[in-house]
């Protein structure tokens, strides 16, 4: 045990730097996914006819193996290429579904009597969305963000395969030279990050429960 700790300690600077890269990948991709997923999820509640095909499409995209998706994106113009930008694009794709689905479900789960009350007292649709529907849907939306973040932390390790950096670098290197200590030096911090994000965002979620 202490042999592992010593091994990690000796590489603390590198682990810290890669953890930083990892967090940046996850943070940027999750923020972009929120910026796309929340408005799109709300829009779908207004156009029920589109909801099924759009959510279905997002579901299908989700089933593409992640390594394959990273590979597919490389030749694309603008988002493609080797490096963090491509990795972020792929992570956005995966983070989008839970955020989109939970926003949609969360807004639809608001008690229709409350929505009717909001309309009946004279709120415009926009006021109703901002001050009633979104706040009441927030815990469900945040649960989607939490799932997306945890999933992204795991997936981001694969981003190293296309040169995006992050903790995956240690894992790939460890696999290449068959050194399980090196694999763990990448995997353990990634797992801890995921646990921390899960419980931290869980606290935020409960804080916003109506």
């Amino acid at each position: 045990m202490s042999a592992y700790l010593n091994y990690f300690w000796d590489r603390r600077a590198e682990i810290a730097a890669l953890t930083g890269e990892h967090l940046v990948l996850v943070l940027i991709s999750t923020l972009v996914a929120v910026a796309i997923g929340v408005p799109l999820g709300v829009a779908l509640t207004r156009r029920p006819r589109l909801a099924k095909p759009v959510l279905g499409f997002a579901n299908v995209v989700q089933t593409i193996p992640s390594l394959a998706l990273f590979g597919f994106l490389i030749p694309l113009p603008l988002i493609g290429g080797i490096g963090a930008r491509t990795a972020i694009a792929a992570l956005v794709v995966y983070a989008l579904l839970p955020i989109l689905r939970n926003t949609y479900a969360g807004v639809l789960s608001v008690d229709p009597a409350i929505i009717e009350a909001a309309t009946g007292i004279g709120m415009t649709p926009r006021q109703r969305l901002r001050s009633v529907e979104l706040p009441l849907a927030l815990p469900v939306v945040l649960a989607g963000v939490r799932i997306a973040t945890v999933v992204s932390i795991g997936l981001a390790t694969i981003a190293a395969a296309i040169g995006a950096g992050g903790l995956g670098v240690l894992i790939y290197r460890g696999v290449a030279i068959v050194d399980h200590r090196l694999i763990l030096a990448g995997a353990v911090p990634a797992a801890l990050l995921a646990l921390a994000a899960d419980s931290g965002l869980g606290i935020v979620e409960r804080r916003f429960a109506p």
């Binding site: 009597a113 009350a117 009946g120 007292i121 004279g122 415009t124 109506p210």
Partner: protein
């Protein structure tokens, strides 16, 4: 009481159906005068709630006229119209993430009142509905009893001082004792505020207690409209006779 008052709400031969050939309102006509309470009562599915929602444009009618303040509601901006019609619904429909005070101040804030004005108004109304602001203003709806939530619902509807209240089964979710207490308080608010009220209830006793006049609805038509004593003294048809004998045991 005289009934030659200016109608605040008027229905003229109003028809509405949700499915072809199955009218929910089938030629409904009535008026609600200034300061008057008209209770719409009848079996469920008779069109009472639909009628109420035509007034504040939560629904639109197919034909006939629905007038509020003497004007066709369909010619009005629905948002502005609704802010002039207090709306009280069963279970109060309070916003669970807002405090009691925020709920009561909802309409004044939509109307852009200044904070102090809205605040003194909510203090006043919470006092009126027997929920002193010092104790209740900062609570959330889930921390209140059913009767207290319903009081907040009434206070919210009254906040911007609308000339008309629309009440849809306002006391329907309460136990009999709380219900009776709310009915007594309602009579008191009404005496003090002089609002016109269009009240929907399935409970004939409630209709007779609260309504200056009562309209007995079934299958989208008013079988009889009159004061409780007129209806009891001379039921207009068999339906009314049966309905009132089922609901009000002859003493």
């Amino acid at each position: 009481m005289t009934l030659a008052l200016t109608p605040v709400i008027e229905f003229r031969d109003v028809r509405k159906s949700f499915a072809p050939g199955r009218p929910i309102l089938d030629g409904l006509s009535f008026t609600v005068g200034e300061g008057e309470t008209l209770a719409l009562v009848g079996p469920s599915g008779g069109g009472k709630t639909t009628a109420l929602k035509l007034v504040n444009r939560l629904l639109d009618h197919d034909s006939g006229d629905v007038l509020a303040f003497g004007r066709d509601v369909r010619a009005e901006d629905p948002i502005a119209l609704r802010r002039r019609l207090g709306y009280v619904i069963q279970e109060a429909g309070l916003f669970p993430h807002w405090t009691v005070r925020e709920n009561v101040e909802a309409v004044p804030r939509l109307l852009g009142w200044r904070r102090e004005a809205a605040r003194s108004r909510s203090d006043e109304l919470l006092e009126l509905v027997n929920l002193p602001a010092a104790e209740f203003a900062e609570r959330r709806p889930r921390e209140l009893s059913g009767g207290q939530r319903q009081r907040v619902g009434v206070a919210r509807a009254l906040a911007a001082d609308p000339p008309v209240l629309l009440m849809d089964e306002p006391f329907g979710a309460l136990d009999p004792i709380a219900r009776r207490a709310m009915q007594r308080e309602f009579a008191e608010w009404k005496r003090r505020l002089g609002k016109a009220v269009l009240l929907v209830t399935h409970d004939l006793r409630e209709a007779f207690r609260l309504g200056d006049r009562v309209a007995i609805l079934d299958r989208g038509r008013a079988h009889q409209i009159g004061t409780p004593s007129e209806i009891l003294a001379s039921p207009a048809d068999d339906f009314v006779r049966e309905f009132i004998s089922d609901e009000v045991p002859v003493a």
